[in-house]
């Protein structure tokens, strides 16, 4: 479960996140839309405890991330726009490193290769240096990390930006699969189409405030775009 309770962050007098209230249940994909500077990345940074809130709380699995940084990070996974791994290590070596950091059970080559295969990487690819990977392949390692550590919550920051449509679609399918396993997912994105396809709910953020929350099941693609643009023009 991912929760924000009156979460607020102020940078030099500018309110970046303004009293955010949000609950993402296990198995739910929540897509956060908004223009650049709306506060999406700041929200994710607050959940990662990279920055401290001015007030309010960010919670992962019911625990305040500021008071329980280790416990909450054991339960969450993070995939940024660029999954930047160690270029000189292979895919499996990178996965092993991050799994061990997270004290995950999966550690043997067999277990890690099985996870990488689930995420769409072949053994040959897994044994190659990450320096040779495409962005889509690196994103798949990010998903593999989430699977390996059995994360309860996943935070994604513009993960599909720059991916070709096929890679983007593959990625969405992996996210949907993770959600089915009970992972609560918060994805900040500019991609309205992907948000509608992958998300159960979509939130529109503007000037640090969550100005609208929509159920994707009741929306068409054009509806979402129109609502989004209307909020941006307000």
């Amino acid at each position: 479960m991912i929760e924000a309770v009156q979460l607020t962050k102020i940078f030099n007098g500018v309110t970046a996140v303004d009293g955010l209230d949000l609950t993402i249940k296990p198995g739910e994909v929540f897509c956060l839309l908004g223009a650049n500077g709306a506060g999406k990345t700041t929200t994710i940074n607050l959940f990662l405890n990279f920055i401290q809130p001015a007030s309010g709380e960010a919670r992962i699995s019911g625990m305040n991330v500021v008071h329980h940084p280790v416990e909450t990070k054991q339960r969450l996974a993070y995939i940024p726009e660029q999954v930047t791994l160690y270029r000189n290590l292979t895919g499996i070596e990178n996965l092993r490193f991050f799994s061990r950091l997270a004290k995950a059970d999966a550690d043997s080559d067999q277990e890690l290769l099985a996870i990488l295969r689930q995420c769409g990487l072949t053994e040959e690819q897994a044994r190659r240096r990450v320096g040779t990977y495409s962005k889509g392949m690196r994103q798949k390692i990010g998903i593999a990390m989430t699977v390996a550590k059995k994360a309860e919550a996943l935070l994604l920051d513009e993960p599909t930006s720059g991916l070709d449509p096929k890679a983007s679609n593959d990625f969405s399918m992996l996210l949907t699969d993770l959600a089915k396993r009970g992972v609560a997912i918060l994805m900040a994105t500019h991609d309205l189409f992907r948000a509608k396809e992958t998300g159960h709910r979509v939130g529109i953020m503007k000037h640090g405030k969550l100005v609208d929350v929509l159920d994707t099941a009741t929306l068409g693609h054009t509806d979402l775009e129109q609502i989004y643009l209307r909020h941006m023009h307000d």
Binding site: K73, Q74, Y86
Partner: protein
């Protein structure tokens, strides 16, 4: 967790071409300097003692005298130190102690100008530079690429990550910096080796601490590299040069040539006067056969009187020179705390036995021996005696016992460096508190 992160960092460093080059350069420099040092130490350990040409007391006591050879420094293979400045051989006569500077001892001009390439040089100058070369990008690159965010999204603290990076780098450079000198000076006494090793570790700690503080500022890797290069230049090159300049300005010393000219001027009158009296004696006694024993005694008395006069005047010049030197050294010992390189240099040279202290200890032992030599021979010289083989055999023998208190003397500066290093490392980790991702 820190052990795991250290192993991971080790693996990353092992795959980094720049780091491989750095380690190869460092290892090669240490091995080369060690081999040169071992060869130099062997060359220093030889001295020829000429056979007596006559059994006259004056010939034995003064013409031949006693050759005092300072044994090769306990760790001469690691540091040439002051061995090209202070004489390692002294000639003792019943008159005085002479520095016996021979062609073997004076290095060729280029070597004197460029200094020795020894292990101490590699440790003092190259080691910190290479610490900086592999530490300027502790976290900046990973932060800028975003890898650090991926790592810190796991249940691990930034300071643990940084600790792993620092430990891996410290081991990578520290192990050759410790092991190779130990192998090169394996015959040295364990306390000296332990002191040398402790000094190297403490010195390394200081530079790793500085690198840590600079990295914690949050600048990019290029800025870190520039700042660290400036710090190295300041502490290792400009700082010591400035300190030497301050010392020279405060307590100016005459050059060796000027000192020699001063000494000659001071003794000239006594020399001329003494030589005139001796010349007069020789004029009065044109052949030695008609001088007789009494005449030879008179001649010996005249010689002794001349030598005493010269020695007294020389003493005044030498005392002034020594006093100024001591003032310089006192000021240097205070100012050197401003440069870790100067402190470490003092410690490494003293520990190796090529610092000033051991030469002074040897000179003091030579002075004591000269007093014994004089007491034994002077009455016989003044008596113009011809010595028996037994008398020559029973003459005082010089037996130099090395100063063993050196390790105690260097303990304080080593502890000072270790404390400074620990404080810098602590400050570095503390500065990482507000590190912006």
């Amino acid at each position: 967790m820190i052990a795991f992160l250290t192993r991971h960092e080790w693996k990353l460093l092992a795959t980094n071409d720049v780091v491989r080059i750095v380690i190869a350069v460092f290892g090669a420099a240490l091995v080369f300097a060690s081999l040169l040092g071992v060869a130099r130490a062997r060359a220093e350990d030889t001295a020829a003692i000429p056979a007596p040409r006559s059994m006259r007391a004056d010939a034995i006591a003064n013409e031949r005298g006693a050759m005092l050879v300072m044994p090769a420094a306990p760790m001469a293979s690691l540091a040439a130190g002051q061995s090209d400045v202070y004489p390692g051989y002294l000639k003792v006569t019943a008159r005085n102690v002479d520095a016996l500077v021979t062609g073997d001892q004076v290095a060729h001009p280029l070597a004197v100008a460029s200094g020795h390439f020894d292990v101490a040089f590699v440790i003092l100058f190259l080691y910190p530079l290479l610490v900086f070369a592999i530490s300027f990008d502790l976290t900046a690159g990973e932060r800028d690429r975003g890898t650090l965010r991926m790592v810190l999204a796991q249940p691990v603290g930034l300071r643990d990550v940084v600790a792993g990076k620092v430990i891996a780098r410290a081991v990578l450079l520290g192990v050759p910096a410790i092991i190779i000198p130990i192998l090169a000076a394996s015959n040295a006494a364990p306390p000296r080796l332990a002191a040398w090793t402790a000094a190297v570790v403490a010195y390394g700690l200081i530079w790793h601490g500085i690198a840590l503080i600079v990295n914690a500022r949050g600048w990019n890797a290029a800025t870190n590299a520039l700042v660290l290069a400036g710090i190295w230049l300041l502490f290792a090159i400009v700082g010591p040069a400035t300190i030497n300049l301050i010392i020279d300005l405060r307590y100016p010393m005459p050059s060796r040539v000027t000192a020699a000219v001063q000494a000659r001027a001071a003794t000239q009158e006594a020399t001329v006067q003494g030589n005139r009296e001796l010349g007069q004696f020789l004029q009065d006694h044109p052949t030695s056969s008609n001088v007789g024993r009494e005449g030879m005694r008179q001649f010996a008395m005249l010689q002794a009187a001349r030598d005493r006069q010269i020695a007294e005047r020389l003493q005044a010049v030498e005392t002034a020179f020594e006093q100024q030197l001591q003032r310089q050294q006192r000021l240097a010992s205070w100012l050197s705390v401003l440069s870790p390189t100067m402190v470490a240099q003092g410690v490494l040279l003293e520990t190796a036995g090529t610092g000033r202290t051991r030469f002074e200890h040897f000179n003091a032992a030579a002075s004591r021996f000269q007093a014994e030599w004089k007491a034994y021979f002077e009455p016989r010289v003044l008596d113009a005696a011809t010595l028996t083989a037994d008398e020559v055999r029973d003459a005082p023998k010089f037996n130099y016992v090395d100063d063993t208190s050196v390790t105690g003397q260097v303990a304080t500066p080593i502890a000072g460096m270790a404390i400074a290093g620990a404080v810098l490392v602590w400050l570095g980790f503390r500065s990482y508190r507000g590190y912006q991702l």
